[in-house]
Amino acid sequence: MAGDLAIAVGGLWKSYRKYEQRSHTLKERVLRRAHRYEEFWALREVDLEVPAGTALGIIGANGSGKSTLLKTMAGILTPDRGSVEVEGAMSSLLELGTGFHPELTGRENVYLGGSLLGMRRHEVAARYDEIVDFAGIEPFMDVAVKNYSSGMYARLAFALAVSVDPEILVVDEVLSVGDEAFQMRCFERIAQLRTGGRTIVLVSHSLDTIRSLCTSAVWLDGGTVRERGRAHDVVAAYLGEVHATASHDIDQSPDRRGNRWGSGEVEITDVAFVDGEGAAVGAFRTGEPMTVRLHYRATEARDDVVCGVAVHRADTLVHLFGENTRGAGVPLRLAGEGTIEVLIPSLPFLKGAYVVTVALHDATMARVFDWHERRYSFLVFENPDLPTQVGSVHVPLTWRVSASTMAV
């Protein structure tokens, strides 16, 4: 395996036997000698390479083989044909609280569960305070977890899960459980692991999660790789298919697919959402600074370029705002390669998923160089430091109450 690959999957086939009725006992074995079963190929000829330090998302409909692929990468399942090679210490996070024993105390379960997540004893010990702190159940750490409320149990399991720090992390859906604070913390943790050069493989039904957290993605369909590439493109292709097949779906506008068009003299090569610390992340809190960073490549020098950015809600596609360099009075002279940054000192959006359009065109908009319609997305989580508001945007305001002179 090349030195920079974390996971290499080659020609992977995996089948399950669907027994009509699995016979476990001798009597059944003897009475019905032949097993009647159907062979079901969950994965057929899957090839994948995950470069070290990148995040791969796996998407696809139910039963498309996502979890099987993940479990095979994690070594839980063994391929029927093909190979899985892993370079680096791997932890798999397929459910919360794996191996927790109800009779054991919170503390004992942290150590037991930690070792099942591939953590060494001293590693758990080093992070123990952090785990307890995050779970927020310090007084209960010496109580058997069977006496925990389900919320406490989930908090502890979650706190342990986000404390793992392997070279390679394989995650299945666990992100989608838990409340807001958990999810935000989880995103932060994964973003942190990514900036720390860790490799991440993520299965999620939330396409926004995949778009926000992953560099690349594969789309599994019936056990084979249907599409692979940059996360945004794969998600767009998947959405296109889903919308094409789901005829009853309300929103059938073709541009929901995340179209891209333009003449290409000046190209947008990458778009990143950068947080206050300068890290490219996919999730923010309301009120935090966010920078939209565009990378461009101009095959010829031009001074008539206008760059525009617009944000829509991902669920309703409501256009929340848009601005371009012409309206802002910023002249652009683009040549070679470079970046354009839009600095938002305080993100006004409330919690939810947002999609972003970026475009390069000329002053009259008669000529479009590169238009990426709603191809990028980020998530916003509630900011506990701000007063709770509902809707799409945060409006800083104050209330004033005065007694009416008419009142008694």
Binding site: G82, E85, G118
Partner: protein
């Protein structure tokens, strides 16, 4: 955890050089996980009881006390029909019985719990990767720890009621080692087979009952010395050698029966090899079937 190359279709690629470091990390992780599982088994066993871990000492004490009463007052069997101790001290039958019993329990607990270890941990197998043989191994280790407590009680009882042991005690580790190897082999084999054939879990209970009577625990080999065929049959039982030898070195201050012990070691190694092969061959299917 690093995953070894698996599958057959494409030829295996060259082994990356960083492998060695990973294997070591993996080994350490596996050791810690084993220790944690053993710790869990032991803690859970007595959790919620008033005496807690003290039960590990109290239980065998109560057992030996009960035997004493039964043999003394009900069966009126006082001394053991075996080799005499060099110092001429009498050996109460209860102590004689208890001595063989704890070694048998080591084997019996390992085999019974080991058999269920894989089937009983389906929820782990489906969610995390770890070397699967950790499961039967931790069953054997848990039984070994319990045995340690029982051995302490036994030694105390011997010192108080029989007399001091002598240097033959040094034979205890190798004898226990043979039993542990045999237990691990049986646990490996049966835990793997049970995944495909649940009946084994029921059979093993029956077989262990049979094994108890087919091992000279409640009687001595001298007791059946007149019956050539029975004696030969008993000597085929790989637990006979360790039990006889254990009693000789701990209780009777004699040497072990080296011939029988060597035979047991041979059987243990064969069972271990067969069990290891079966386990390795089938472990890939555990997560799908359990």
């Amino acid at each position: 955890m690093g995953i070894p190359t698996v599958g057959t279709a494409p030829p295996p690629r060259a082994r990356p050089p960083a492998r060695r470091r990973l294997e070591r990390r993996e080994r350490v992780q596996a050791r810690e996980l084993t220790a944690n599982l053993v710790r869990r088994d032991l803690k859970v066993r007595h959790r919620g009881t008033f005496l807690g871990m003290l039960w590990s000492l109290a239980n065998p004490l109560l057992v030996v006390g009960l035997f004493y009463l039964i043999f003394r007052f009900v069966l009126r069997q006082q001394t053991a029909p075996d080799l005499p101790r060099p110092d001429g001290n009498d050996v109460p039958f209860a102590v004689y019985f208890f001595c063989g019993l704890i070694l048998w329990n080591l084997f019996s607990n390992s085999a019974a719990n080991g058999t269920n270890s894989v089937v009983g941990s389906g929820y782990l197998l489906r969610k995390v990767y770890f070397p699967r043989q950790i499961l039967p191994l931790s069953s054997v280790l848990s039984a070994l720890v319990e045995f340690g407590f029982e051995l302490l009680v036994l030694l105390a009882v011997i010192v108080v009621f029989v007399g001091p042991p002598d240097l033959h005690l040094l034979w205890v580790p190798p004898i226990v080692g043979v039993v542990a190897l045999l237990s691990y082999g049986v646990a490996l084999l049966l835990s793997a087979v049970t995944v495909f054939l649940r009946d084994v879990a029921h059979f093993i209970g029956l077989l262990l009952q049979l094994g108890f009577w087919a091992t000279p625990i409640l009687y001595s080999l001298q007791f059946v010395a007149d019956h050539e065929a029975v004696l030969r049959l008993l000597k085929l039982n790989p637990m006979t050698g360790p039990v006889v030898s254990f009693r000789n070195v701990v209780l009777l201050n004699h040497g072990p029966d080296l011939g029988l012990l060597a035979y047991s070691l041979g059987v243990a190694l064969v069972v271990l090899a067969v069990g290891g092969l079966a386990f390795r061959r089938w472990e890939r299917l555990f997560a799908e079937i359990v």
